[in-house]
Symmetry: C2
Subunit: 204 residues, 2 copies
DNA sequence: GTAGATACATACTGGTTGGTATGCTAGATG
DNA sequence: CATCTAGCATACCAACCAGTATGTATCTAC
């Protein structure tokens, strides 16, 4: 179907390697401090190729968010959330999985989404809106789970599902932010424990 | 006592105006993206003066943390925490005061401390350690309050004061981070409400 | 009164930044 | 076979960056 297009496979692979390298560079240094030359060095791709695929640095940044971070969030959060079972326990399992992920992928670099939110939201509205969309989807996934629990009678009905979901997400990001600065996975676990205790208090 | 030193008052005021402008620039754009020239333009101070007071950009950044942010945190948090009364209510009042403060001082710029933590902790250890010290003091102030409540019988004794204090701080920073990206003070209040509910669950 | 230090001011530098202009090659298309 | 375009590669550019070198006015100390 797309075999007739010339060099399509190779072109796409250079684009992907640019996205990956850009993601890593941005994850470590932030978007503004991320150097295009460093990204090029890392990949071996030339500047002409980069500007063939992306019209400027901003669009590269947007693509990293849309095509890399959003996809990672999908497999890291939204998929685990589809599991059946007691809502509170599904939530806890998803959070635990997130914590495990950050055991390999250095917690010291922080949550990529939160990093960009923090750095760019006040400066560029394109970033802000993209992050906002992801955060809303994230919150909704928690809210839906809580509401289901309330209907099933497994979650306290006196709480507001939307507000609580928002607070849970904020706490989760807060935990990762604190652990990033403390540079210790133990602190993340400690903070996660506080979150677990809170989640348990939401049971019916 | 220091009147005999030449131009001391003027020298100190230029230093202070540099610190203030640097704080504002860093608060908005982050440390790395903060431009020294922009800081100079803002103050009318010249480059020679800047490098007379600070040996380089990094030291200016450290001074902003040590002399401006730390001081602001003192009056915004540690002072309210000294108030007498029921620990949970003192905590809530302090949080409310923080929220009110960010009604004027645009939440869209976020918590200055959290911004620097997020941006610099993975890159520069000087920043990281300074932020860590402030976070630890912050946490300890909450922990002490909770422990006092536990002794007095007004706070649930089944919780660990240190862990809980850490989680409260993480949630607080998380709330401000979410509100920053949402660019809405309402979201801050909404998230704050979730925090209040949690705090109420800690009563004995 | 002069030597020295403080508190700047001005002009400049080398390096890096994002971005561009131009050239080239290989495959698709007519 | 000629033409066109996708997919690069190379060389370059102006703007900006943190930092420096040098000069100078003013006050203090002796």
């Amino acid at each position: 179907m797309n075999v007739h297009k010339n060099m399509n496979a190779d072109a796409d692979s250079t684009r992907q390697s640019l996205l990956k390298a850009a993601y890593e560079e941005i994850h470590r240094y932030g978007f503004q401090a991320a150097s295009l030359n460093a990204i090029l060095d890392r990949t071996g791709v030339t500047k002409g190729a980069l500007y063939h695929h992306f019209s400027n640095k901003l669009q590269l940044g947007y693509a990293v968010l849309d095509e890399h971070i959003a996809v990672e969030l999908e497999s890291l959060w939204f998929e685990p959330m589809q599991q059946p079972g007691h809502p509170i326990e599904v939530l806890m399992a998803a959070i635990k999985q997130l914590g495990d992920h950050y055991e390999c992928e250095e917690i010291t670099l922080g949550c990529p989404l939160n990093n960009l939110a923090q750095e760019m939201s006040a400066i560029d509205d394109g970033f802000r809106q993209r992050v906002d969309t992801l955060y809303q989807r994230w919150q909704t996934s928690i809210e839906t789970l809580l509401a289901r629990g309330q209907q099933q009678g497994s979650v306290n009905t006196s709480i507001d599902a939307a507000d609580t979901a928002f607070f849970i997400l904020a706490s989760l990001e807060g935990c990762m932010s604190m652990a990033k600065n403390a540079q210790s996975h133990d602190e993340l676990m400690r903070c996660g424990q506080g979150l677990m205790n809170y989640l348990n208090s939401l049971r019916a």
